[in-house]
């Protein structure tokens, strides 16, 4: 069944409902906080009671929860994410300032995962049961079982502290500077033609990027191995061999093209896990993205900021799932939607 406009409308409504649901849960969770955010901003005992009350009223914290929620929702829908207590900045500006760092890290780790996962997946599928296949299967089991952040710590210790071959903190060395254009350090340094800074940024992103990609490498490897095995058994591959096409051409062009589809889906599904994993990996590597912002926001009970980050994640997750579903239907028309 092709994608109908009816299906799209239904999905869109579900998406909006999910995001709304997240906003209510997130809002309720944080308003049930035992601490007093006003006291956290100004410090205890700094102001008199009346001044505290005035500040609370100014921030709208004296209203009942549901009124606070509707005020927040109205602002949110008009693109106003509120103001961060801690930074005294617009939440959306803060998030947009940090988002490129996080996206750069995630995209980098997706690229690592695709390259390593596809190569090992093909090697595994071409000679199933060989030592290379068994080795990469075992490695991918371990890569998958150990969570992102433990890989992060392992790499910090091994490469950052013991071997000291790669930097394990931040995006650049202290004495290197790149003026921001896109916010993606690897791109900006190239745009400035600063090869030195590019290499510097590259060495900084390798460890956190690798830590984040370990699980995904395993997923890509496993998925490609099994889809490649399926494809290599198809009639058209048999025909290609009969035609006398070179084995290399058959594997890397004819077969891989079709075997890659499930991999794309897996990467899409895993994207949300990378988003979650990046929070801790950023903390470990002092990576100045959204993940580190989460910890600051939570530490200072910065309600608007936490809510803003939760909404950002929810929107990304919901949109990603939608895109995967649509791609999946386009590629595989047998999938039916109810």
């Amino acid at each position: 069944m092709p994608i109908t406009s009816q299906y799209l409308v239904k999905r869109a409504i579900y998406m909006v409902l999910s995001v709304l649901g997240v906003s209510i849960v997130g809002f309720a969770l944080f308003r049930l906080l035992p601490g007093d955010p006003v006291e956290l901003i100004v410090g205890p005992g700094y102001f008199a009671k009346e001044e505290m009350a005035a500040l609370r009223a100014k921030l709208g914290l004296d209203q009942p929860i549901y009124i606070q929620y509707f005020i927040w929702l109205r602002d949110f829908l008009s693109g106003n994410f509120g103001r961060s207590f801690r930074f005294d900045l617009n939440v959306l500006d803060l998030i947009m300032d940090r988002l490129p760092a996080t996206l750069e890290l995630i995209i980098f780790s997706v690229i690592i995962a695709l390259v390593v996962g596809v190569v090992t997946g093909v090697v595994s599928a071409v000679k199933p049961g060989s030592w290379a296949d068994r080795l990469s299967q075992t490695t991918s089991f371990v890569g998958f079982a150990i969570p992102h952040f433990l890989w992060g710590i392992i790499f910090v210790v091994v490469f950052g502290a013991v071997l000291r071959v790669l930097p394990a903190s931040g995006r650049l060395d202290m004495d290197v500077e790149v003026n921001r254009i896109t916010g993606f350090m690897l791109i900006d340094s190239l745009l400035h033609g600063d090869l030195n800074a590019f290499v510097n940024a590259l060495t900084h992103i390798i460890l956190p990027g690798l830590a984040l990609s370990m699980g995904l490498i395993a997923m890509v490897h496993r998925t490609l191995r099994s889809s490649m095995l399926d494809v290599l058994g198809e009639d058209y591959i048999f025909t290609d061999r009969m035609k006398g096409l070179s084995e290399r051409y058959i594997i890397y062009v004819r077969a891989l093209k079709n075997a890659l589809m499930p991999v794309i889906t897996i990467v899409g599904i895993q994207f949300t896990f990378l988003l979650g994993g990046s929070i801790l990996v950023e903390k470990i590597y002092g990576w100045p993205g959204i993940g580190n912002l989460v910890f600051t926001a939570v530490q200072y009970q910065d309600l608007s900021l936490v809510q803003g980050i939760i909404m950002l994640y929810a929107i990304i997750v919901v949109l990603t799932n939608f895109v995967i579903d649509v791609i999946y239907t386009l590629v595989n028309p047998r999938v039916e939607f109810k």
């Binding site: 049930l32 949300t272 910890f295």
Partner: protein
């Protein structure tokens, strides 16, 4: 389709369970690691040579016995406050056992009834449960756990509550989709036709048949629980300062890494071994009990 009767016979008699557990190397390996962890955890008060919080400041940063400067009294050395690493490691095992077992039982206690009823009854209830699951799945669980701890405050039981609230959907989702298959089976239709009530069918026909799947998810949930405890403690959001957990040992150990690397090395290796053991156990169970199920997070 897997042969439910056969699997059930194996899981309902002690001999059947024993033969299942010894039937694969993976299962045996995982079970041994799990049993060792549980044994160390339960016997911690008797095994550990020192009080895990006893500080001897003059004896800080000692390497393990046998290394230059080591002390036979402190077999694995001491941390930055002169606390015995072996004792903290042993007590950390009981923290890991406590968190993983209690969190798994609680998530199952929420997820299994929800999954079974929504999968069996379908209709409005199912719809509502699935919408709630959708909303939950839109939060990255790590973000949810961090947020919850900042509200609840640190402490072992709050860590467990955070795990349960962040991860109850795992059992619900998997059990529900399995029940969707089971409810169409002949024995369920037979029970229906002789007039069993939905509650009776769910209890006596459906529930026993999700047990194999349940055992697989439980191993996964235990490793998730241990991971989350370590992760939160690493971020300073886990247990209280006087609770010796592997996560807080790793975080502490990283801060004095140059002075004594063993402080973080031992709990890190222990965490990895336990997580791998649980995953291997889950993998072995899956191969034996349900070959259709693929590994999901």
């Amino acid at each position: 389709m897997l042969d439910l009767e056969q699997v059930n016979r194996r899981l309902t008699t002690a001999r059947g369970v024993f033969s299942l557990l010894t039937s694969s190397k993976k299962i045996l390996f995982g079970i041994i690691i799990l049993l060792v962890l549980i044994a160390i955890g339960l016997l911690a008060p008797w095994l550990s040579p020192f009080d895990p919080n006893e500080q001897t400041l003059g004896k800080a940063y000692l390497p393990p016995f046998g290394f230059n400067g080591g002390d036979s009294k402190y077999l694995l050395g001491t941390d930055s406050l002169g606390r015995d690493i072996l004792s903290r490691f042993i007590h950390g095992a009981s923290v890991a056992v406590y968190v993983s077992v209690v969190a798994t039982i609680l998530t199952a206690a929420i997820g299994v009834p929800l999954g079974v009823t929504s999968g069996y009854l379908r209709g409005k209830f199912d719809e509502a449960v699935m919408r709630a699951v959708d909303i939950w799945m839109s939060f990255p669980p790590v973000l949810l756990a961090i947020t919850l701890i900042s509200i609840l405050g640190t402490g072992l039981n709050n860590v467990i509550i955070a795990i349960v609230i962040a991860d109850w959907t795992r059992f619900t989702r998997v059990i529900r989709s399995e029940v969707l298959n089971i409810r169409e089976r002949d024995f369920v239709l037979a029970a229906k036709s002789i007039g069993f009530s939905p509650l009776q069918i769910m209890r006596h026909e459906v529930l026993p048949n999700v047990v194999p799947l349940l055992s697989i998810i439980a191993t996964l949930e235990m490793s998730v629980a241990i991971t989350v405890e370590v992760l939160l403690s690493y971020a300073g959001l886990g247990v209280k300062a006087d609770t010796p957990s592997w996560g807080s040992m790793i975080a502490d150990g990283l801060s004095y890494f140059r002075l004594n690397p063993w402080g973080m090395f031992i709990p890190l290796v222990a965490t990895i071994v336990v997580i791998l053991g649980l995953n291997i156990l889950g993998d072995g169970l899956r191969e034996k009990l349900d070959p259709r199920l693929t590994l999901t997070r």
